[in-house]
């Protein structure tokens, strides 16, 4: 019997072991703050940024703890549920996907704690609760959408970044004739198609006026201007890679970085990785010219917030964690972040270190538009982005623009109620 009890005890100990989480308070009276993110590739950059913070706060050590981006959202809810031993500061998805954490009470409200007085409302919206309007994170990066192009191919073919739609299609035709794929994109991934639509279709649907019209219920996604903007993208199929419906996201990236495709409709988030993997690649950036029949007669640079940093409600070092996110709203952090990680910081008054990003950011400041499917229609199931991508996939397979518009409307109206008017 004694042996039996010993066995049970041993087994119990084995099972209980993983529950003993390491303490976050280290020796020497220093407070260890854990920052959890989905960016393992930025570890060195973040360490450099936090070194600057530690110098000014000698009693704090920031432990950067990245989790693979594909695992992050499956891990985070459990991390935030831990009564002790959880992270102190966490990277948060923007807009809709943030709301579940707010509703669950996982995050500390930051109103009155961090100084965001000079920030745009549009930027702060990414980290606010839809229901209570409180701020739960400090946004860190802005992403802009536009067209990346291979400068060498353009020079070889004698093509200038186009200013009008006619120039744009003429350039595409010329490239196609020369045996170069004009544009690399993925028809297999709905979210890539939705980005294509925002880039090429925003001027056609009417940009921010269309956004307001849908938000207030004056228009919906069966509107002829919107369906025509979907058609704008579908009509570009001839300039996309062969069998684009089977081209995956990494394939599209490879087509562009290997010089097989001349242009790549995408976001500012691609510039860093592209220049890193292919240092010889000379990348340029331009905004899509207004599409035929456009409601807005100038190019639009669409943008959205990438995410924010918030404080775990179960953090054992809440005041230190708050101090850290407070710092993340300062120009010091913003500038360090922008230049170290080659991003567009959301902190007002900062400039991106990279010339291409500077160009993209200026475009957004001068003639910006909202990436509505993420910013406004990313708060329910299905996400606007996914539903629009699905509709475009169907259009590439032959569905009419009117039916595609109905499909988008069906998805969005499943959870979205316009504000009246």
């Amino acid at each position: 019997m004694r042996k039996f009890c010993a066995l049970v005890a041993a087994l119990g100990a084995t099972l209980a072991l993983p529950a003993c989480a390491p303490s976050t308070s280290g020796g020497g009276g220093k407070v260890h703050l854990t920052v959890e993110t989905w960016r393992p590739e930025d570890t060195a950059g973040y360490q450099k940024i936090f070194d600057a913070y530690e110098k000014k706060h000698p009693k704090v050590v920031v432990d950067y703890k990245p989790i693979k981006s594909t695992d992050y959202l499956t891990v985070l809810p459990n991390e935030l549920k831990k009564a002790t031993g959880g992270p102190d500061v966490v990277q948060l998805k923007p807009y809709g996907p943030l709301q579940s954490y707010i509703k669950a009470g996982n995050l500390v409200p930051l109103d009155g704690q961090v100084n965001v007085s000079g920030w745009q409302d549009k930027v702060l919206q990414a980290a606010k609760g839809k229901d209570d309007g409180k701020l739960y994170g400090v946004p860190y990066a802005l992403q802009t959408l536009g067209i990346l192009y291979n400068k060498k191919i353009f020079a070889d073919q004698g093509i200038q970044p186009p200013k009008t739609w006619a120039d744009f299609t003429a350039a595409c035709d010329k490239l196609k004739k020369a045996g170069i794929t004009p544009m690399a994109t993925s028809g297999l991934q709905p979210w890539v198609l939705a980005i294509d639509h925002q880039i090429f279709g925003a001027t056609r649907e009417g940009g921010n006026d269309f956004e307001q019209a849908v938000l207030t219920g004056k228009k919906d996604f069966t509107d002829p201007d919107y369906t025509a903007s979907l058609q704008t993208v579908a009509d570009l199929k001839q300039y996309f890679p062969n069998q684009v419906t089977a081209v995956d996201y990494p394939d599209a990236q490879t087509l562009f970085t290997s010089g097989k495709a001349a242009m790549y409709p995408g976001g500012s988030y691609e510039i860093g990785p592209f220049t890193k993997t292919t240092p010889d690649l000379q990348i340029g950036w331009f905004d899509a010219p207004p599409a035929p029949g456009a409601k807005v007669n100038q190019p639009l640079t669409s943008g959205y917030v990438d995410g924010s940093f918030g404080v775990n409600a179960h953090s054992e070092h809440k005041s230190e964690a708050l101090e850290l996110v407070k710092w993340m709203a300062t120009p010091e952090f913003g500038q360090l972040y922008a230049s170290t990680l080659k991003q567009i910081s959301t902190v007002p008054g900062t400039t991106p270190g990279d010339p291409l990003l500077t160009q993209a950011y200026q475009g957004y400041q001068q003639h910006g538009a909202t990436y509505i499917m993420v910013v406004d229609f990313g708060y329910g199931n299905p996400l606007g982005r996914d539903q629009e991508g699905l509709a475009l996939q169907k259009m590439l397979g032959g569905t009419s623009a009117a039916d595609a518009g109905k499909l988008v409307q069906k998805g969005i109206s499943a959870w979205f109620k316009p504000s009246g008017g």
Partner: protein, 316 residues
Amino acid sequence: MVQAQRRLRRPVGAGGGRPRRRVLLTFLLPALALYTVFIIYPLVSAAEYSLYSWSGNRQDGFAGLSNFHQLFTKYPLSEQVWRALGHNCLFFIGTMLIQTTLGLAFAVLLHKSRRGKRFLQTAYTLPHLVSPIVVGYLWSIMLNPQFGAINAALRDVGLGALAQPWRGDPHLALPVAIVVNAWQWVGFPMLLFGAALAGIPDEYEQAARVDGASSWQVFRRVTLPLLTPVLGIVTVLTFIGTFNVLDLIYALQGSQGNPGFATDTLGLLFYRTAFQNPDPNAIGQSCALAVCMFILIFGVSLAANKVFRRMEERLK
């Protein structure tokens, strides 16, 4: 055989006779503990979670069957559940037709062949050793329209017209996934059928031959009926496998079952509902789906088992 069984029954406990219950328990306990922690507990907790409404990771009030109701009435779930179920059914049928038939054919051919049997058996079962995630990525590269080996090979032999957007055509995507899955698992039914074939005495075939039966008749009237028990096992295991399929499709077509949900399955839908769902009630909805899947798979497996048992009885 009988002797061996008798030997097994010989004294294990100190006093002879049957081993004492406590000893038995001691041996069972580790496995039982692991089984409880990793199987029973998650099952029970999923069932419990499915009956509550959730705000993110916070459990709210008791919700009765409301999560199940949402699953079947709330767009887009209401549409996705049935579509995914349909795809699982097609996946099962396709796998039975391709994988099980080929597995049986390979087993019969290998059973008769004397040369290269070991090598071919190993070759056919080799893909088992690779994770479905790896198989999915591997095939997604081979099926790539731009750089992929398959379309390149077709073009090289003058069959360029057959080069298809394999993963991008909504009509081809699911059949392609079924074939890739069969490529990986065909060795499994082959081994089971092979073992069963080895257990059928040669005399049966010889007797049928003497009666004037052709090879096909021998197979159809003698061999195949004797394989019923194995066929039952293969069918049930294929059913369980294809209704739980997730990793291969995830690697091949992403979490959305591209293109346009053409390869969506219940497993993928569960993953999306649980982890990529902006609805605060994601845990409630996904657990309800998990419970439905469990009931379906468990129920059908039990029923199928019964049917095959009855068929076996008739054989005797």
